[in-house]
Symmetry: C2
Subunit: 258 residues, 2 copies
């Protein structure tokens, strides 16, 4: 029963940080995990998994890869789940160890500034990966990127999309050393999306786009560190966009010209 | 206790359709409801509401507007709630009666084609309203727009943003009569976002943008009715964007030139 205890324990952030392990729940997430380069330490399954052909295939794939699989009762399985609709499978894998300096040298970075909602963070990672952003940096106040709800919302994208948590100080040092401009998303920022030659020339450089909490916006420290504030013109009476929607619009508008 | 029974009943779609009433839960939604033109029929509150100054203000605002407020026990209140973190207030209001012909003549419409997730639908309505879309049309297979979870995710935007449910047949008739082009979001569609003079001329017309279910995409009927399919170029290995993020990017890229 050691693996069951471990899975239960990994619901807590501290346990994930101490062990360097995380849990991916559900068929889709485990499929993506098997497709990635991450190291699997084991898996838990229960009868719920046998109800679909896709579930059976995941079972076989885990066995084929030599992953240690513990079959438990549905009741025990549910005690280790952090998500709403359990599908009878979860895998334990190693959090990839990344530092700012080990991030790939890419043209676009996404920066999460104090974003607490795990569903939003997962959707942000999925959006960044889909739009060709090379890496995502989580600043203090952001939910742990290896939280089970984040992993589920990111539908496996973070297994290949590089992410790192950093202090603001270390991150601004990195930006300076790498000559990366920090752009902040702000309701009052300059509208993006113009594809004039001048705008294209500016966007040709390396950019890190910072997005903040939906209610509070960017933290004062990040706002102060920004080279530019950009925004999305909104209709009268509309207060705000969902943070993942706003990031999607800005990242698409700021995409490198190909 | 009649209002408590009514609120409980309105959790079901059929009860909402029969009565023409819906429930808005939480402080933010009720605040937005009070700000809108919609007709309130009553409200339920419990002690949970008195824990914040904002809650107390909502109480006072309901009383000031002459809304019938029933104070119930927390246990009773919870039996009428459909959302996760109840804040001790819900209001019952009339669903605005709208038909296709009563929609405002605007330059952009959003069309929901079989979108079942209420959180996504609420975020889609919020996104449409924020980006200046004039109205949203829900085609068959889409979750009821007055579901409590949709209302919560839309953070009150749908109280002023016109919405209507329609059959595909009635909607395509409307598009033809109004000379509105139907554009469909599709992974294989032409990339949007170019602001060349030609693209601007095309986008100067009236456009209804249809988005489909994340997994299945547009239904065959809607796909067949589209004048154009548009898409968002994605990075290799990325399967899809969240539907609200995709709609946000497309609606922003297709925004009327001002």
């Amino acid at each position: 029963m050691k693996m069951l205890t471990l899975a239960r324990d990994l619901v807590r952030r501290k346990a994930r940080e101490r062990s360097g392990l995380f849990v991916a729940e559900g068929v889709r997430a485990v499929e993506e995990l098997l497709r990635s380069d991450l190291t699997l330490r084991g898996a838990l399954t229960c009868d719920l998994l046998d109800r679909t052909p896709r579930g059976t295939e995941v079972s076989a794939a885990l066995a084929g890869r030599g992953v240690e699989v513990l079959r438990v009762t549905e009741a025990d399985f549910l005690t280790a789940c952090d998500t709403e609709s359990p599908q009878g499978v979860l895998a334990i894998a190693e959090v990839p160890v990344r530092t700012l300096d080990s991030l790939p040298a890419v043209s676009r970075y996404l920066v999460l500034d104090g974003i607490q909602d795990p569903g939003n963070v997962g959707t942000l990672l999925r959006t960044a990966a889909a739009l060709g952003v090379g890496a995502t940096v989580a600043l203090p106040g952001t939910v742990d990127l290896w939280n089970a709800k984040v992993v589920r919302s990111a539908v496996g994208m973070q297994f290949t999309h590089p992410t790192v948590a950093s202090s603001l100080e270390a991150f601004t040092d990195f930006l300076k050393a790498q000559r990366i401009a920090l752009w902040g998303a702000d309701a009052g920022g300059a509208p993006v999306g113009s594809r004039t030659p001048a705008a294209i020339a500016v966007a040709a450089g390396r950019i890190a786009l910072a997005v903040g909490n939906e209610g509070a916006g960017l933290t004062p420290g990040v706002r102060g560190a920004c080279d530019t504030l950009v925004g999305i013109p909104m209709a009268e009476g509309a207060e705000s966009l969902n943070v993942a929607v706003a990031a999607g619009i800005l990242l698409h508008a700021l995409r490198p010209v190909t």
